[in-house]
C-alpha cells in the first residue's frame, strides 16, 4: 500500500501542491494530466529522487519520507528507461538481485523467470544498445520487477512504444496488476487511464483535482478542467457484443443498447460520444441515426454556445443544443423528447 499525504515541492519551474492519495494493495492507480502538470515529480518524490518540502509518504504503513532512495522498496520505471548501457540485458535485470546476497544459480533462475514472464528470454545476452523501444521498455520493467517492489511506479510507460506493441504491453501491465502488483502509472493519455486504471487521479497545475474510479471521474467531472481534459460527458461502462451482419456492434449499458462500429473483441469497455453529436427532437426522428431513444429532459445548463441538455432515456445523455432550437422546440425540464446519435459518433474503449 502506498499513502501519500500532503506532498508539496517546488522544483525548477515546476511545483506540486498538497498531493494526497492512497493506492491500496492491488490497485492500478492512474495519475492523469497534461504534460507539465507535475506528474513525474510526484513519482520522483515517492521514489526519493527528489526531497519534498512538505508531506509524508507511507509504504505499507512505514514512513519512508526520510529513508534513502535504495531503502524505500518502490520500483520506478523511468520515462527514458535508464537502462545501463555497460551491461547486458541479463545483467540489467539481475542488478537488483545482487544486493539480496542470493547465489549465482538462483540469480540466473530468477532472471530467466522474469524474462519469460515478459517474453524477453531471447534477448538476455544482447547489448541493450541494439534493442527497440518496446524491447527496452520490457527490459526496464523486468529489471524493476526483479526488485519485487511493494509499489511499481511507471512514468509514461507506453509513450516510447509503437502503436502495434501498445496493446501487448498494456495487457502485460494489467496481468501484473491482476497478480497483485500495486501500480501507480503516470500518463497524459485519457484512453490509457480508462483502459487500465482501477482508480484515477486527475492532476493539473501540480494539484490533484479529482480522484475516483474512471467512471466516477469522467461521468461526473468535478471541475471544468477534468471535463475539458476528457472533453466528453457521455461516458458509459458496459459490454460489447458480437458483430452483426451489417458490421454494427451492440453495446449494453444497463438496459440500454447502443449501436456502434468497433474492432475490439467482445468484452468489457466504455463508450463515449460528444455532446455535439446528439440531436434532440420532439417527434421520433425519421433519420439515418441508428441510436434513437425517447426520454425526459432532466437538466438544462446554459453554455457559452447554446444549452447543454441532459435527457434521461434509461441512461443520462448530454446534448448540446442551440438557442434557437431551445426556443423553437420549447425545451424545458420534464418535457418528453427524442434523442438520436449516429453509430459513427460513438467510440468504444476496451477495458484491458
Amino acid at each position: 500500500m502506498l499513502k501519500v499525504e500532503g506532498i508539496s515541492k517546488k522544483y525548477k519551474q515546476f511545483e506540486i501542491k498538497n498531493i494526497t492519495f492512497q493506492a491500496n494493495p492491488g490497485d492500478y492507480f492512474m495519475l492523469l494530466g497534461p504534460s507539465g502538470a507535475g506528474k513525474s515529480i510526484i513519482l520522483e518524490v515517492i521514489a526519493g529522487l527528489i526531497k519534498q518540502d512538505e508531506g509524508q509518504i507511507f509504504v505499507d504503513d512505514i514512513e519512508v519520507s526520510s529513508l534513502s532512495i535504495s531503502k524505500r522498496n518502490v520500483g520506478l520505471v523511468f520515462q527514458d528507461l535508464a537502462i545501463f548501457p555497460n551491461m547486458s540485458v541479463a545483467q540489467n535485470i539481475g542488478y537488483p538481485l545482487r544486493r539480496k546476497g542470493i547465489k549465482k544459480v538462483e540469480e540466473r533462475r530468477s532472471i530467466q523467470q522474469i524474462a519469460e514472464k515478459l517474453t524477453i528470454s531471447h534477448l538476455l545476452e544482447r547489448n541493450p544498445i541494439s534493442l527497440s523501444g518496446g524491447e527496452l521498455q520490457r527490459v526496464a520493467l523486468a529489471r524493476t520487477l526483479a526488485l519485487e517492489p511493494k509499489v511499481l511506479l511507471l512514468d509514461e510507460p507506453l509513450s516510447a512504444v509503437d502503436v502495434q506493441l501498445r496493446s501487448g504491453l498494456m495487457a502485460l501491465l494489467r496481468n501484473l496488476n491482476r497478480e497483485g502488483q500495486t501500480i501507480v502509472h503516470v500518463t497524459h493519455d485519457y484512453d490509457e487511464a480508462i483502459s487500465l486504471g482501477t482508480n484515477v487521479a486527475v492532476v493539473n497545475n501540480g494539484s490533484i483535482v479529482q480522484t475516483g474510479s474512471p467512471v466516477e471521474v469522467f461521468r461526473n467531472p468535478a471541475s471544468e478542467f477534468v471535463a475539458n481534459f476528457s472533453g466528453i460527458k457521455n461516458f458509459f461502462q458496459g459490454t460489447i457484443q458480437e458483430r452483426t451482419e451489417h458490421d454494427l456492434r451492440c453495446f449494453f449499458t444497463g438496459n440500454i443498447k447502443l449501436w456502434l462500429y468497433a474492432e475490439d473483441p467482445v468484452g468489457e469497455g466504455f463508450v463515449s460520444f460528444s455532446e455535439n453529436s446528439v440531436a434532440v427532437s420532439l417527434e421520433k426522428p425519421d433519420s439515418s441515426a441508428v441510436n434513437t431513444f425517447r426520454g425526459t429532459i432532466v437538466d438544462i445548463f446554459q453554455q457559452k454556445h447554446g444549452f447543454e441538455i441532459w435527457v434521461d432515456v434509461g441512461i443520462k445523455i448530454a446534448a448540446l443544443v442551440t438557442w434557437e432550437s431551445v426556443e423553437r422546440l420549447e425545451l424545458i425540464p420534464h418535457k418528453e423528447v427524442w434523442v438520436s446519435i449516429k453509430a459513427n459518433a460513438l467510440r468504444f474503449i476496451e477495458k484491458i
Partner: protein, 275 residues
Amino acid sequence: MLNPFNQIIRINAIGQNFSWFRMVATLLGGIVLLFIISPILGLVLETPLESLFKTAGEKEVLDSIWLTIWVAMAATVLFAMLSIPLAYLLARYDFPLKRLVLGIIDLPVVIPHSAAGIALLGFMARDSILGKTSSAIGFGFVGTSAGIALAMAFVSVPFLINYAREGFSSVPERLEKAALNLGASPVRVFFTISLPLAWKSIVSGFIMMFARGMSEFGAVVIVAYHPMITPVLIFERFGAFGLKYARPVAVLFIGVCLLVFILVRLIARKEKKDA
C-alpha cells in the same frame, strides 16, 4: 545555347569543392604538424643505429629508464586512487568555493616546474613537518624515488583529475538514480555504473598523467638529481659530453615512451572488453 541554370550549377560545384578557408587552414595545420614531427624525426635519423645498440646495453641507461617507468606508474596509480573520488565529487556536486578548488587543481600546470620543484623541496625537506615525520620512521623524500614520485605527481595529477571529472560529468545522473532505486548502495552504484561508464576518460587521464610524469624534468631535477631518471640523465649527458652523447639516450627513451603508451592503451581496451 547558353542555359542560365548551367552557370548556377557550375558556380555551386566550384563552391562545394573549393574553399579558400579550408586550403589556408590545411596549410597552416601542415606547418604545425611538420614542426612537431621534423625535430623528432631528425633526432632519430641523426642517431646511428650502432650507438643506439651500445647505449641500450649500458646499465646506467637501462636503470634510469626502468626507474622512470615504475616511479611514474607508482605515482599515477597512487594518485589515481586519491583523485578519482575527488573527480567524482567535482562532477556531481556543487559546493561553496568549487571554482576555487578547480583553480587550485589547475595550478601545477601554470606554474614553472622548476618553481614547483623548489616548493616541493621545502615541503619535504628534513626540517619540514613531512620530512620530520617520515625520517622518524626511517623514510626520506629528498634524493629518493619517493621524492621523484611526488614531484612527478605534483605536475601531472591535474590531467587525471580533469579527464576523470569530464568522464563522470558525461555519465547521466539518471542512471545512478535508477541504480539507487534498484536498491544498490552508493558505493555499488559508483563501482558498477559511474566508474565503468566514465572508464574511457579515466584511462585517457591515467595515460596523460603517466606520460606527463615520465617526461617530467624540471621539478624532479630539483627534488632528486639522484637516483637518476632518464630525462635527468639526458640532461646530464648533454651537459657533460654534448649533443652527440645525449642523442642515443633521448631516442631510446622516446621509443620506450611510445611503446609503453601503446601497451597501456591496449591493456585498458582489453580490460574494458572483459568487464
